[in-house]
């Protein structure tokens, strides 16, 4: 019965401990709605056939409802609506109250990505790994505008606000992968701000966590203690690639030449870009940096001014790394045109 109704109503799988309870109430509510609207519909139909107009001069008696009729009209819906409310609110309170034994994960949302940080140190982008069968509490905040954390299979949703923490919790009943969707409109990339919850078997989760912890410790060990140590972060291009992923640049800019929300980064360096006002600029380091800090200053023709400013969000060395990464993205097209000014060999490839 549960499975039949769930499929009829197109509800997703019931992958959390409260999904099934919520769906039970859902069925009850939908069935009462159907019964009520059918009853009203059939009564109308019956009256319409029974009392159709028989002559143009027909008159009708004056009828007023009795007090008990009006009482029924008020009482019946009141009873059902209150029943819905109390059943629903009991469940709502349960959903709003995370159990004390839950493990915590910090969630940071921003245009247009999810970042997850575990108190033990590891963090992840767009992928939330949790142990199945354990209570997980999410402590969420946003870096820019309001987002909303939504996992349909878990029947949970919670807005993620800038400037404060909100929380929600769940318990994934079995291992599996479930899509995270952003449910509060947040701009051009709203519909692609998706992530994934991966519920692992508890042992696998422990393994993953300790693996991550080891990696973290190893990285800390190799971090420079003096100037003669080479940084373990890789060269600037590699750093730039990672920063571009972390900051969400690649949500709008492609690196393979296809058109997306923002101009592609492939062959961007020293490209002659036509702006909206018709002027042509050279995409040099200064322009690239300006576009990160004040994106609306010079909009390339054919694109919308939707990029958020990264002023104060990424530091100088990170900007440098991003610029270097963009420079590295060159296809092997032979360039024609005037000399590109001072000789500066862009780094090609890795």
């Amino acid at each position: 019965m549960n499975e039949l109704l769930r499929r009829l109503l197109f509800l997703p799988d019931q992958a959390s401990t409260f999904a099934r309870d919520i769906d039970q109430l859902h069925y009850f509510v939908i069935v009462t709605t159907f019964v009520m609207s059918t009853a009203v519909g059939l009564t109308t139909l019956f009256f319409f056939v029974r009392y159709r107009r028989r002559s143009e001069t027909q008159t009708t008696p004056h009828i007023e409802p009795t007090w008990w009729m009006e009482l029924g009209f008020i009482g019946t819906p009141l009873f059902f609506f209150m029943l819905w409310f109390f059943l629903g609110f009991r469940e709502f309170v349960r959903q709003q109250t995370p159990p004390s034994d839950a493990i915590d994960v910090y969630v940071m949302a921003k245009k247009w990505m999810w970042k997850f940080a575990y108190p033990d140190g590891p963090n992840a982008i767009n992928v939330l790994r949790v142990p199945a069968g354990r209570n997980v509490r999410l402590l969420m905040t946003s870096r820019d505008v309001i987002h909303s954390f939504y996992v349909p299979e878990f029947r949970i949703k919670q807005d993620v606000l800038p400037g404060r923490y909100t929380q929600t919790w769940f318990n994934a009943v079995q291992p599996g992968r479930y899509q995270i969707l952003c449910a509060e409109y947040c701009g051009a990339g709203h519909s692609i701000m998706r992530g994934e919850v991966i519920a692992l078997k508890p042992q696998e989760f422990e393994d993953w966590l300790s693996q991550q912890r080891r990696g973290l410790v190893a990285r800390q060990d190799s971090s420079p203690t003096g100037l003669d140590f080479a940084p373990a972060l890789g060269n600037l291009v590699d750093q730039g690639r990672r920063i571009a992923a972390e900051q969400g640049c690649l949500k709008c800019h492609t690196t393979d030449g296809t058109r997306h929300i923002g101009p592609t980064w492939l062959d961007l360096y020293h490209r002659r870009e036509k702006l909206q006002d018709g002027s042509i600029i050279d995409a040099d380091e200064a322009y690239l940096t300006e576009s990160m800090m004040e994106p609306t200053a010079k909009i390339v023709a054919g694109f919308q001014p939707v990029m958020p400013s990264f002023q104060g969000k990424i530091a100088g060395p990170e900007v440098a790394a991003l610029v270097e990464y963009i420079k590295s993205l060159q296809s092997d097209v032979v360039r024609t045109g005037p000399s590109e000014g001072p000789a500066y060999a862009p780094i090609r490839g890795r």
């Binding site: 109503l9 509800l11 997703p12 919520i22 509510v29 009462t32 709605t33 009520m36 609207s37 009203v40 519909g41 109308t44 009256f47 319409f48 009392y51 159709r52 027909q58 008159t59 009708t60 004056h62 009828i63 409802p65 009006e70 009209f73 008020i74 819906p77 009141l78 609506f81 819905w84 409310f85 629903g88 609110f89 709502f92 709003q96 109250t97 820019d144 505008v145 309001i146 909303s148 939504y150 349909p152 029947r155 949970i156 949703k157 807005d159 606000l161 800038p162 899509q179 449910a183 509060e184 409109y185 701009g187 051009a188 709203h190 519909s191 929300i261 609306t296 919308q304 001014p305 958020p308």
Partner: protein, 550 residues
């Protein structure tokens, strides 16, 4: 009220019959400079229908894009602008002024036996404010338009680089038109009722408009304040809602919904009033439970002010608040249910004629019951968590706002078309269009309920592929719906120009608006009627011609 000299002369038979309001001056200037509530109503009617089609074109463009899960036809930012403009145009330029400003203006003074509204100049000013607001909004659209959604949620709306300011300003100005019209109606109902029209003899449409007007003058200023603060935040960096400047984004949602939830009742209460009138007229039966229907309008207007928090169950308000707003929202459902039962009761032992307006009444009853009960389901806190900001919500409010409100609007348009223009429309085409619309509407929005259950968030440009089948079904229904509206536009335009002359009271209705000739003369009545009975008393047969109730 003292009769004018011309009226007295006409009564004495010294002058010929007064020309209808349509014949009294035919220059463009005589329309633009009119103080006649009927002409203002007709100008509002033409404007709201124009904006309805603009908003409808936006909707069809959105539906076309949604045929494909990936990027298709338009880019993400254009999509976001389109749904914003669809919402803004449909809500502020169509739904809110639709029935009150167009039909309310036309029939309210006729129904209470007045020669005009209390402040005719203010009435015209309201129309020009509406036009000014609409012009600013259109200018904003041509500048590129906003991409915030019609809800303007901060801090997105205070930081997005699109043209939010002109749209906010347009909404602000249109709000004043709404306030002035509401004020005008309240004063008119209090001061200009015909002799003998006690409060318990006022037609139910007037009760609906009266309740609406209360909401308009109490809630709209809050919207004005809110959009003004957002505007100041945008151009002066005022930190009220943006947390980066020390503001609180949830405060915006409280202020916004304090207006925008009652605004839903601004859109639906007048439609309920239309149904109360038409269900009696076409069942040829007195209104079952007149007092219950009248009082439930006031009840909805009152309780509607205390339910706004049900838009924010997952927005970060306290659990206690969620419970309080949840339980208060249930009462709106109860008041609506009282009306529905009484409308059905009105048909009992009536003499029902299945004309085009009656088809819309049936559609309305179905949409209000299903749309209303899914609304109560959404106010059930735990269920809302899954449904919030998904297509389930979209489907629910379209059931109420398009389903019910537009059915009310169309019922009114067909019922009062002979009253307003003295012409008849082709009944057959009317029924064809009505069935197309009701069918197309279901085909559009039932799949959206299922999409919401399935977990499809609203305002998504791209969507996971398993949602596609339902989206295609919805677009197919939308096309049907568009066709239906187009047919109405065509046959009503033809009827308006070449239609047959209609009788003065073609429905044999005993609603008080038929006390005047159709179309009415400029000053409505040669002699003010004296009301001695309730509206819609069908114990005696009404011969064709102008209604008499003395």
């Amino acid at each position: 009220m003292r009769l004018s000299e011309a009226d007295s002369a006409r009564l004495a038979g010294a002058l010929p019959q007064a020309p209808t309001y349509l014949q009294d001056g035919t220059t463009v200037l005589s329309w633009l400079n009119t103080r006649d509530h009927k002409r203002v109503g007709v100008m509002f009617l033409a404007s709201v229908i124009f904006f309805f089609f603009i908003g409808g074109i936006f909707a069809l463009a959105l539906r076309m894009k949604l045929l494909q899960p990936g990027p298709y036809l338009i880019d993400a930012v254009s999509y976001n602008r389109l749904f914003t403009l669809h919402g803004v145009v449909m809500i502020f330029l169509f739904l809110i002024p639709s029935i009150p400003s167009a039909f309310g203006n036309f029939v309210l003074p006729l129904m209470i036996g007045a020669r005009d509204v209390a402040f005719p100049r203010l009435n015209l000013a309201s129309f020009y404010l509406y036009l000014a607001g609409a012009a600013i909004t259109i200018w904003g659209m041509l500048q590129g338009g906003a991409d915030t959604g019609w809800t303007f949620y901060t801090p997105y709306s205070s930081t997005t680089p699109t043209q939010v300011l002109p749209i906010l300003l347009g909404v602000f100005v249109v709000g004043f038109s709404s306030i002035l019209t509401g004020l005008n109606f309240i004063v008119t109902v209090h001061t200009l009722r015909a002799p003998g029209m006690t409060w318990m003899r006022i037609p139910l449409f007037v009760w609906g408009i009266y309740a609406t007007s209360i909401i308009q003058i109490l809630a709209t200023p809050v919207l004005g304040i809110t959009v003004l603060i957002v505007a100041v935040e945008r151009f002066a960096g005022f930190g009220m809602f943006d947390p980066a400047r020390g503001g609180d984004p949830v405060l915006f949602q409280h202020m916004f919904w304090f207006y925008s939830h009652p605004a839903v009742y601004i859109m639906i209460l007048p439609a309920m009033g239309v149904i109360s009138e038409t269900v009696s007229a076409f069942s040829r039966k007195n209104t079952f439970g007149y007092k219950a229907i009248a009082m439930s309008s006031l009840g909805i207007a009152f309780v509607g002010f205390f339910t706004w928090g049900h838009h924010m169950f997952v927005a970060g308000q306290s659990t206690f608040n969620a419970g309080a707003f949840g339980i208060l929202s249930m009462f709106v459902g109860v008041f609506t249910a009282i009306k529905v039962f009484n409308w059905v009761g009105t048909m009992y032992r009536g003499a029902i004629a299945f004309k085009t307006p009656f088809a819309y009444i049936c559609g309305f009853l179905y949409f209000i019951v299903f749309g209303g009960m899914t609304g109560v389901a959404l106010a059930t806190t735990s269920l809302d968590i899954h449904w919030h900001d998904t297509y389930f919500v979209v489907a629910h409010f379209h059931f109420i706002m398009v389903g019910a409100s537009v059915m009310g609007f169309l019922a009114a348009l067909h019922y009062w078309f002979p009253k307003m223009f003295g012409k008849t429309y082709p009944e057959g085409w009317g029924l064809v269009a009505a069935s197309l619309i009701i069918l197309g509407f279901n085909a559009t929005f039932i799949p959206q309920f299922l999409l919401g259950n399935y977990g499809m968030p609203r305002r998504y440009y791209q969507y996971p592929e398993h949602f596609q089948a339902l989206h295609v079904a919805s677009t197919a229904g939308g096309t049907l719906l568009g066709f239906g509206f187009l047919i109405i536009l065509i046959y009503l335009t033809i009827a308006l120009i070449w239609g047959q002359r209609s009788e003065s009271n073609p429905w044999g209705s005993k609603g008080f608006e038929w006390l005047s000739a159709s179309p009415p003369p400029t000053h409505n009545f040669d002699e003010l009627p004296t009301i001695t009975q309730m509206p819609h008393d069908y114990r005696t047969h009404e011969p064709p011609g102008v209604l008499h109730v003395a």
